[in-house]
Amino acid sequence: METAKAIDHALMRRVQKDEYEAFEELVDRYKSRLVNLIYRMLGDQNEAEDLVQETFLRVWTHRQDYDFSYCLSTWIYTIALNLAKNELRKRRKFKFFSLLDMSEKGIEIPDPKLGPSALGHMLEGAIAKLPVTYKEAFMLRDVEQLPYEEVAQILGVPLGTVKSRVNRARAVLKDELKPKLEQTRALSQGSLVPVRAM
C-alpha cells in the first residue's frame, strides 16, 4: 500500500514536469485541510480561502525548488502557516477589524445548552480563543493528526516545545470545556439523568 508521502512525491514529480492534472490532484488532497487550518487561525473563511489559493500558487511557482528529502505536507503547511502568520502580523500592525468579525475572533461560539452535539462547536470556539502558538500546534497535531516530528519541522521549533505547547493547549481547552465535559461524563456513566421540570 502506497503511503501518503509516496503519493505526494509521485504527484510532485509530475507537477515538476508541468502536469497540471497532477497539481489539481494535489490541490484536492490538501485544500480542505489547509482551509480548515487557516480558518482556525484567522477566523475568516474568505481570507482563509484566499491564503490557501496563494499557498497553492506558490507551490506551483516554486515547484522546481521542492526538496524531496522533506514531506510535501511539511512544505505546504509551512507555506500556508507563514502566510497566515504574516496576515495576523499585518492585522496587529494596522489594528484591522472587520465589521463582520465582531463576534469573538470571528467564530461563533454556540450556546452550551444546545445539547451534546454542541460540544464539538464549543471546542471550535475554545480553539479560536487559544493563543496563536498553542493553536497552531494543537491544530496540526490533534486536528490534522500530524506526527510531532512533522509539526516541529513545520513550526521550526524543537520537538519538546511542540509537545509542551500541545499539552498546554489541551489543558486550556479542558479547563474551558470542563462543565460540559463533566455533564457528558455523568451521562455516560448513568449517574446523572437530566430531568426536565414540568
Partner: protein, 214 residues
Amino acid sequence: MRCRKARWFLSARCDETLSERQRLRLEAHLVGCEECRREAFYFSEIAVLAGKVETRPVRPDFDLRLKAAIRRADAVAAAPIPWSQRISLALWRPALAGAAVLVLVLGSIGAYTLMHDDEAKYLDSSRTAGGLTPQYGLSVDPNGAALPEGSLVPVDGFDPETQKLRDRYLQTGQMSQDYVTQAVSVNDSNAISPAHRYVLPTVTAEQVAKKASY
C-alpha cells in the same frame, strides 16, 4: 505515582507515547484516584473531539479561481520584458555602479582633505599662539642651538636628516625624552594628531649647560 506526575502523563497517554512502564504505573494510579481518572476522561474526550472538528467547506469555485490565478502568474512569468523596461534596466544598473564608485572616490578625497586641513590648522594655531615663527623639519637650527618656545620639532616619521636632527637635540640635552612624551600627549589631547611633532618648552643656553653638567 503522585497525582501531579500522573496529570503530567495524561496528555502523553492520549498520544500513546508513554513507555510500557510509565503506562502501567499511570493506569495503576488511575484505578485508585477518582480525580485523576476524571482528568484523564477530559483529556481523552478533547482528543476525540479534536479529531471530529468540522471541516470547513471550500467554495465550489475555488479550483477555477486558483486555475485563473496560476494562468495569470504563468503569463507574467512567460511574457517578454518590454523594450522600454529593458533599456531602463540596462541603464539603471551601470548608473548605480557608477554612482557608487563616484561616492567612494569623493569620500576618499574628502577624508584626505579633512585630515590635511587639521594639520594646517594646527600649524596656523601654533604660529599665532606663540607669536613665533614655527620651525620644523630641516628648518630647525642644524647647529643644535637652544630653541625658542613654540618651536616645532619632528619626533618620528620624517626623513632621515630630520630624524638625525631630533636625535642630536636629545643628545645635547636641548630636549629630553620626557618632553617628547609630554608634547605628544599635548598634541593628542588637542586632537590635532601630528604626533610626529611636539612643542619645545623654553630651553635657554644656561639650562642646556646646567643639564650637561649633571
